[in-house]
């Protein structure tokens, strides 16, 4: 029997007790090989920090997978222990560059926003990635790629919800 899809509503500002746990923010164990720190901020259209956002991160290479949540603090900052996982190939065989799928939830977001974080040192794989290749504007493409920090020990990625530096979001 055909049913009709339930509409989305905002996560609101009071989700932490239900959805957040000690030890959140780990796609990988901190001491595991290849573990790296991914951090940044969630910002609104005025450049103000979004202190009540929840990020959900998901990655899979077709066999191995990882999921975690990370809430922002009052300064809009989040941090995640991540690792690089090869992208699973598309049904037509095209390879995807390593990436992390991210859902952004917050008060004021009536429905989640979806985007991807790609890795900066994967230049060749990123150039061939089907999603990145489908985005004509190089400035938008660049916004989906994390930036290495000055000391190289971590990656930075800001989720800008609105405005001149808006993060490209995906219609999935």
């Amino acid at each position: 029997m055909k049913s009709r899809v339930t509409p989305a509503q905002t996560i609101g500002p009071f989700f932490h007790g239900a959805l957040c746990r000690a030890g959140d923010g780990r796609l990988a164990e901190p001491a595991s090989p290849g573990a790296l720190e991914l951090r940044g901020r969630v910002l609104d259209g005025a450049g103000a920090p979004v202190g009540d956002a929840l990020l959900e991160l998901w990655q899979t290479d077709g066999r191995d997978s990882a999921f975690c949540r990370a809430a922002t603090n009052d300064a809009g900052e989040y941090q995640v222990v991540a690792r690089k996982l090869a992208g699973a190939p598309l049904a037509d065989g095209r390879r995807q560059a390593p990436h992390i799928n991210v859902s952004v939830f917050a008060r004021g977001l009536l429905h989640r926003l979806v985007t991807r974080v790609y890795f900066p040192e994967e230049g060749a794989a990123n150039a061939r990635d089907p999603l990145l290749a489908s985005i004509a504007d190089a400035r938008l493409r660049a916004r989906l790629i994390a930036r290495p920090s000055a000391n190289g020990a971590e990656l930075r990625f800001d989720f800008v919800l609105q405005g001149e530096h808006e993060t490209p979001f995906l219609d999935v």
């Binding site: 339930t6 239900a18 977001l109 808006e166």
Partner: protein, 231 residues
Amino acid sequence: MIVFRTDDREVHPPHRFPDYRSTRLRAPLSPPIPWPHSPTESTGPNFADRPPARREADLTAQHAGAPLGERITVAGQLRDEDGRPLAGQLVEIWQANAAGRYAHPVDQHAAPLDPNFSGVGRCLTDADGSYRFVTIKPGAYPWQNHANAWRPAHIHFSVFGPAFATRLVTQMYFPGDPLLELDPIFHAVPEPARERLIAAFDLASTTPDWALGYRFDVVLRGREAAPGGRA
């Protein structure tokens, strides 16, 4: 690979809905980039091997005493558009107490906290996709969206479904609530889809001498028909 349908814009609220003030600076201005699902979107986290404790589905039994308020049960089925029950799925809920106050540091509403109520529940769906929570009816509460703004009583729901693509966070409302007509968050959902957010009073699941029953089914998007016509 199972491919799920893309998001239905006739069903879900738009990102920008100026009557809901917080959307004004948080809604993206650019349209989302179309992206056919890859294995990253067609798979998702599986929580079936980490079932929550049974008591997590009873929000009235998590403390030394019973919470104040009208005891209710909220039960329903998680399924997809094609009627497939979604079994072993994590359902997470959170809500205000009977006085309309969340047990959350940011909530400063001048209503009492209830030491016997945290307002948080979790369970896994059964083999037929069904779930059931015991809780109390949440109170309405004021918010700062506009003059004399009050949220209708609601319970927040979070479900995943079989893939990253099917993830849904929503809110369940109560039938007959006069605040629904005035609520911009509810009204951001286009007609007629918004009615699906209102639970049904259900005499069949009402427990005599104990608790009123409400029914709230949650339906996630279905599968794209595979080449050759078989879904």
